[in-house]
């Protein structure tokens, strides 16, 4: 974004002069200035509609006007020389009366309400001073609805601020939540009971200012916000790296909420990210080291020192393990013996993507920046399922151009209702190329449903139309060519063109095509934004280590040079064919597996080491835009066996090299070592302040100062208060003691400010209401890393896809609920996952004499799956879709071809 010089305007609030930014409304201005002005219907990401009338202030004509009139601050733009009063008695009394109106039907059930203690309505009620209830008539009541596994519905608490429908329908494109009825019986819910379908529904729990929509999974193991031990964390369930706050009590993770990061997720996260956390509490957690040895009564020390001293180690890293863990493994086994632990094709795609991102010819946008794209081309991704928060950003991007088009109408951008009214259904340009329908198709101006090869060919055609020197694909049909020509034209004319692509279809040509378009768009300093979706939370970080793939490891194992495999947080059976993994593991005398959840690989371990999840340890992840972000330990597990993988791997050196305990690494020096060893990670050590960071000599408390029961909560075990655990790896304390003020942005464990107990207090942490966090949004981009990723690009264009008579081309279709390894351990997420299926065009189904719902046998080499047919007529003939990595359908090597057999005929 270009830096514009902003000329400030002067306004007077209660006789005090302030120089403020123009183009804002009075409410956000007052909040930026630190004034406490209550509000409900306004939302920093959704603008103003003027419905709740809570933010009334007095506006005077000029300095001599003593009477003034009430205006709603959210509906009034700042103007130079404006005189207003927040403290004016009339304004104050009106705000207090407004709360009394809202409370006339509110159930006053704070004591039993899940929102209590982090309730915006409570905060605003206290803020206005309304205390005594004069309404003496019966309250209106509603019936609540069943809304699925994510949200609990309690309509009686509703204060009709309309934020839920504005988020769900207007912002997130949901269809099944609406406002019904009228007058004082307005109802917010579904047309009838049922699962809320939108992938961002969980945000309603934060968007709702009170307890109408609350987190249903929290309810299963409820605790008050003030009773949680919290830490800033990073979502583990896709490659975008949304920032989250994770809260714990009594050793169980209780809740995930959004942690604002102005450059990444802003105010919203997806439902996989919010509800996928329960793998941490899974009964299938590995809780103690297991030694499977023929020699009896070998303890861990004896066993490990034996194995490690023998040496000949091969290390298999993981894209879902932290940088530190992967690095500690690499150090243990030696650089030459460290492998990525992902299939060769995936590793190759990630190498290409990194090479592109470091090529200097394209720009890698932050997630926030994708919201401002004026023309977007999505090549071979279904972001709603592969990178959900990006889909929400692209839904905002399609409004960018229409909003620019009405610039002349003098409607301030914060005036949400007026902006929406004027742009109506106008949408900017979004072109979706993917084998099947996606949810974003409904806001797209064009779609192509084609085989991966043909999606790549479309990309090459677009590049060709933009730059004649780029080769043109041959034999394309006129319609697709016309789409390509149109898209080329639009991209060339765009101010902020965006190309979204990624690894989902495991197709290199698509990524090359995206790059070709990016190069064609490069005009001097101005570069096209290329956003690549990757498979997992640390795919980028692992790939940047430039280690060979799992396939290479398998080859290396065949040499017989290795005695022991050390497998880090990786279920290899999800990465390769069962027979291959079996053969691989059989090549070793010993297999050390470090992981936190029982899985097929863990079951094969000769030594199984229990590790910490993201909630029990620290680490750094690199997201798809190469932003290094630190997540912090939320709680110290009571079980001493559960340690971060990097700590275990570091301790392994004791067994092997006799390293003394005090020479073992802490997170800080491990990171330092990592950065020294691999220059591409320079900057990752600055993703958050180091462990010795203190403010006024104090640590930052993980617990709010109202944390209760500290001396009582373990009284059933011992009456003396146990010593709180010490944290040697971060600047946090595990208590409520410590620095009370505002910590630096990457170290914010929860949002709280005097009078603002709910998450709405985030504006106090921002440099301006809705703007970036004070001190800058967290995370360090590693793009300047100065390493060269080899760029072996060829400009060959793949031939068009042709249907084979004997076998089907298979495409993997990711699912937000189901495709991610960890989040399906949450019963709420698992409940939303699809059943396994095979998607076919009905013509292909006819050829196979099968129909919707009938089971087909699919054979990929020696892998056999029996799957019910799901008809998707947009699929090209000869292409079948399979849910990606949905248990038990993992271990397929993509791209794949399969033979379909109708076993019933």
């Amino acid at each position: 974004m270009p830096l514009a010089v902003t000329i400030m305007v002067r306004i007077y609030i209660d006789q005090k002069p302030y120089d403020v930014k123009p183009g804002k409304n009075l409410l956000e201005t007052c909040l930026t200035l630190g004034l406490d002005l209550p509000y409900f219907c306004w939302h920093p990401a959704m603008g103003s509609v003027g419905a709740c009338r809570q933010c009334a202030v007095k506006l005077f004509k000029d300095e001599n006007d003593k009477t003034g009139r009430l205006v709603m601050a959210c509906m009034e733009g700042v103007r130079d020389n404006m005189y207003l009063s927040v403290n004016d008695t009339v304004a104050h009394d009106f705000r207090s009366q407004n709360i009394e109106w809202l409370m006339s039907n509110h159930p006053h059930d704070c004591a039993v309400c899940d929102e209590g203690g982090s309730c915006h309505l409570q905060d605003m009620t206290v803020m206005t001073g309304h205390a005594y209830r004069r309404f003496r008539f019966p309250k209106r009541t509603y019936q609540n609805q069943y809304l699925g596994p994510f949200l609990h519905h309690e309509m009686n608490r509703c204060i009709q601020c309309y934020r839920c429908v504005r988020f769900y329908k207007d912002y997130a494109g949901g269809k099944d939540l609406d406002v019904f009825a009228a007058h004082n019986h307005v109802y917010f819910g579904r047309e009838k009971d049922g699962v809320l379908e939108n992938e961002f529904s969980g945000n309603l729990a934060e968007v709702c200012p009170t307890g109408v929509f609350t987190d249903k999974t929290l309810r299963e193991h409820y605790t008050r916000k003030w009773d949680m031990t919290m830490a800033p964390s990073v979502c583990q369930h896709c490659s975008l790296g949304c920032n989250i706050i994770a809260g714990e009590r009594y050793g169980a993770l209780r809740q995930i909420t959004n942690r604002f990061n102005g450059a990444v997720n802003g105010y919203f996260i997806c439902d996989r990210g919010r509800y996928g956390y329960e793998f941490v509490n899974d009964p299938g957690r590995i809780r103690q080291p297991v030694i499977r040895s023929e020699k009896e009564s070998l303890n861990l020390f004896e066993s490990l020192s034996g194995i490690l001293t023998e040496g000949k180690l091969i290390g298999i890293g993981s894209p879902r393990a932290s940088l530190e863990a992967n690095f500690a493994l690499r150090r243990l086994v030696g650089e030459a013996n460290f492998y990525q632990g992902i299939p060769e094709n995936e590793a190759m795609l990630l190498r290409k993507i990194l090479a592109i991102q470091h090529s200097g010819h394209v720009y890698t946008p932050s997630l926030k920046e994708t919201e401002y794209a004026d023309v977007t081309l999505v090549l071979g991704e279904d972001p709603t399922n592969s990178a959900p928060r990006l889909a929400l950003a692209l839904r905002q991007a399609v409004r960018t151009k229409p909003i620019e088009n009405i610039a002349g109408a003098n409607i301030p951008l914060w005036n949400d209702a007026a902006v929406r009214e004027m742009i109506q259904d106008e949408k900017g340009e979004l072109f979706m190329a993917y084998p099947v329908n996606t949810k974003l198709d409904e806001v797209a101006s064009g779609t192509l449903h084609a085989a991966p090869e043909d999606i790549a060919r479309l990309g090459f055609a677009i590049a060709h139309y933009m730059d004649n020197s780029a080769p043109a694909p041959e034999g394309m049909d006129a319609g697709t060519l016309e789409s390509a020509r149109r898209m080329a034209d639009l991209l060339l004319k765009a101010e902020r063109p965006l190309i979204v692509s990624g690894t989902s279809l495991f197709n290199e040509d698509i990524i090359r095509a995206a790059y070709q378009i990016g190069q064609a768009l490069e005009k001097g300093e101005k570069k096209a934004a290329l956003c690549f979706v990757m498979p997992e939370c640390n795919s980028a970080g692992l790939a940047m280590m430039q280690a060979p793939s799992l396939a290479m490891a398998m080859k290396a194992a065949e040499t017989g040079n290795f005695a022991t495999a050390v497998i880090l947080e990786n279920d290899l059976y999800r990465r390769a064919k069962r027979s291959e993994v079996d053969r691989f593991l059989a090549a070793f005398k010993n297999t050390i597996v470090l992981d936190h959840l029982e899985n097929d690989t863990a079951r094969m371990a000769t030594v199984l080491i229990p590790t910490a999840t993201f909630a029990e340890g620290e680490g750094t992840l690199v997201n798809n835009e190469e932003r290094a972000q630190r997540f912090f330990q939320v709680f110290m597990p009571k079980n001493e066996h559960i340690r971060e993988s990097w700590r275990w791997l570091d301790e392994f050196r004791q067994f092997r090299d006799g390293t003394k305990p005090d020479e073992l690494r802490e997170l800080d020096n491990l990171l330092e070592e990592l950065v020294n060893a691999m220059a591409q990670f320079k900057g990752a050590e600055m993703a958050a302040p180091l462990s010795d960071f203190r403010i006024n000599g104090q640590r930052i408390p993980r617990e709010p100062h109202r944390f209760s029961g500290r001396t009582a909560m373990l009284a059933n075990v011992a009456v003396s208060e146990p010593k709180p655990p010490e944290d040697t790896d971060s600047p946090f304390s595990f208590t409520m003691e410590g620095y009370r003020g505002m910590p630096p942005a990457p170290l914010t464990p929860f949002y709280w400010s005097p009078g603002w107990n709910s998450g709405q207090s985030v504006h106090k942490y921002q440099s301006e209401a809705g703007g970036p966090l004070r001190g800058g949004d967290p995370g360090v981009r590693l793009l300047g890393g100065g390493i060269h990723f080899s760029n072996g690009f060829q400009s060959t264009i793949p031939p068009a896809f042709e249907r084979q008579t004997d076998e089907m081309a298979l495409v993997p279709l990711p699912h937000i609920f189901g495709s991610d390894e960890l989040s399906v351990h949450s019963s709420s997420v698992e409940g939303r996952a699809p059943r396994p299926y095979i998607a076919l065009n009905s013509l292909d189904a006819e050829r196979l004499h099968t129909a919707e719902g009938v089971t087909l046998r699919m054979r990929i080499g020696d892998q056999v799956f029996d799957l019910p047919v799901m008809l998707k007529n947009e699929l090209p003939e000869g292409v079948a879709g399979l849910p990606y990595n949905l248990p038990p359908m993992s271990g397929i090597t993509w791209p794949a071809k399969g033979i379909l057999i109708n076993t019933t005929s």
């Binding site: 509609v49 003027g50 419905a51 709740c52 009338r53 809570q54 009334a56 009139r69 009430l70 205006v71 509906m75 009394d93 009106f94 009366q97 407004n98 109106w101 809202l102 006339s104 039907n105 004069r134 309404f135 008539f137 204060i159 009709q160 309309y162 406002v179 009825a181 009228a182 007058h183 004082n184 019986h185 307005v186 109408a409 003098n410 409607i411 005036n415 209702a417 007026a418 009214e421 004027m422 742009i423 109506q424």
Partner: protein
């Protein structure tokens, strides 16, 4: 006395069809208007000082003049607000049932003036007969080439649609009407932006009341000076006045703007019914302040009624007689307003039902002394600007004036713990 609006209205015979309307001078104004420039029509209407007859009383021509005419807006709309749901108001119904072509002609001229090519009549659901007659009249107008493409060979195009509402009072509020017409919830919009700039489907739009539009052909035919000369005092033109309540002859009359309240009640409505005394009147529909005995000689024009502390509103009066409990009367109104609140803004959605409940409890003899204070607080805090639209402030007008003029009646209810009229 000239009665341009009702000159061709008689309920002793069917309303004029197109041929009869044309025979009596119908569509001459349209022919004339199409030969003029759109701007000059707007200027003429502005010069005539025609004020909106829907209640707000804003200069119609000036309202039109805010519509952008620079050619940047290929789509514009003209809408007739025929959602007449103000309690006590039934003048538009008479105009539409009595002479539908007059409205249609007024709309075509008005649409031409703002260069709109699409027009809607937003009709109250319950006006079945008006709906039938308008449907037929629109068909006739299309057949005669007054609507559709290339009207009367001038190259001007206008489509006209009849849209029937579902019976919500809030749809009479012009921006809520626009939302309803777009198929959205009938919730008002914040202004600015005004409909003249961003109206129906975000395009420049004019919404005028039926009676306002019916005046247009006559202004075009006879000129602004003639129109001004029709009024008696401050305001131009004639007005359809109405009286309902316990008078001898309730009804509607077209009278010069500015006729006195006494003339209207005593001469036109024949005075109070036998045995009933006058206590007060809401001069312009349910959402206006009471006027009482002392106001009987004021002139019913915008300024004079405002000076007396009320509003001319729709000009159709509801009489409160001395056999009717003012508390019950006001409760009935507040019940209506609370029910018709759209539910968008807090003060209206929550405040109106509260006042309604207090009034009901007073009426039932369960009132408390502090209730009057609470009611007064509501009349003050539900004022213009505090709420999102004018519904709640309008609802407070009869209540605040009842508390002023009939306070004893309220107090008696509370003291005696019953309604003295029961």
């Amino acid at each position: 006395m000239e009665t341009p609006l009702t000159q061709h209205i008689s309920f002793d015979r069917p309303c004029y069809n197109l041929r009869d309307y044309e025979k009596n001078g119908g569509y001459q104004a349209l022919r004339k208007a199409l030969s003029l420039s759109p701007e000059s029509i707007t200027n003429t209407v502005q010069a005539s000082d025609l004020k909106g007859r829907g209640g707000a009383g804003f200069n119609t021509g000036m309202k039109w003049s805010f519509v952008p005419m620079n050619g940047h807006y290929p789509v514009k709309y003209l809408i007739a607000n025929a959602d007449e749901m103000e309690p006590g108001t039934f003048k538009d119904r008479m105009l539409m049932e009595g002479n539908p072509h007059q409205l249609i002609e007024g709309m075509i001229v008005s649409a031409f003036a703002i260069q709109a090519n699409i027009s809607y009549i937003f009709l109250r659901w319950a006006y079945k007969k008006a709906g039938r007659l308008l449907t037929h009249a629109i068909e006739e107008a299309y057949a005669a080439g007054y609507l559709g493409k290339n009207i009367l060979g001038t190259g001007y195009n206008l489509e006209m649609y009849l849209h029937t509402g579902v019976g919500r009072y809030i749809c009479g509020e012009e921006t809520a009407l626009l939302n309803a017409l777009e198929g959205k919830r009938a919730t008002p919009r914040a202004k600015p932006p005004f409909p003249q700039v961003s109206g129906l489907f975000g395009k420049p739009t004019i919404v005028n009341n039926v009676e306002t539009l019916c005046n247009i052909p006559h202004i075009i035919n006879n000129g602004p000076d003639w129109f001004k000369s029709l009024g008696k005092g401050n305001d131009a033109g004639t007005k359809i006045y109405g009286v309902s309540g316990r008078v001898k002859r309730p009804g509607l009359w077209e009278l010069p703007m500015g006729v006195s309240m006494r003339e209207l009640i005593e001469d036109c409505a024949g005075g109070m019914a036998n045995g009933y005394g006058f206590r007060g009147a809401l001069p312009g529909g349910a959402s206006t302040d009471f006027l009482v005995e002392e106001h009987l000689d004021i002139n019913l024009d915008y300024k004079s009624v405002a000076a007396a502390g009320s509003r001319l509103g729709t000009g159709t009066m509801i009489i409160l007689d001395d056999h009717t409990c003012p508390v019950g009367f006001v409760h009935n109104l507040e019940h209506f307003f609370a029910q018709e609140s759209c539910g968008w803004c807090t003060p209206c959605r929550e405040g109106l039902p509260w006042t309604e409940k207090i009034l009901l409890s007073i009426e039932r003899g369960e009132g408390r002394p502090e209730d009057l204070q609470l009611l007064e607080t509501h009349t003050r805090l539900l004022g213009p600007g505090n709420t999102f639209c004018a519904l709640a402030p309008g609802a407070m007008e009869p209540l605040q004036s009842a508390l002023k003029y009939f306070r004893e009646d309220f107090e008696k209810h509370i003291d005696q713990k019953k309604c003295p009229w029961r």
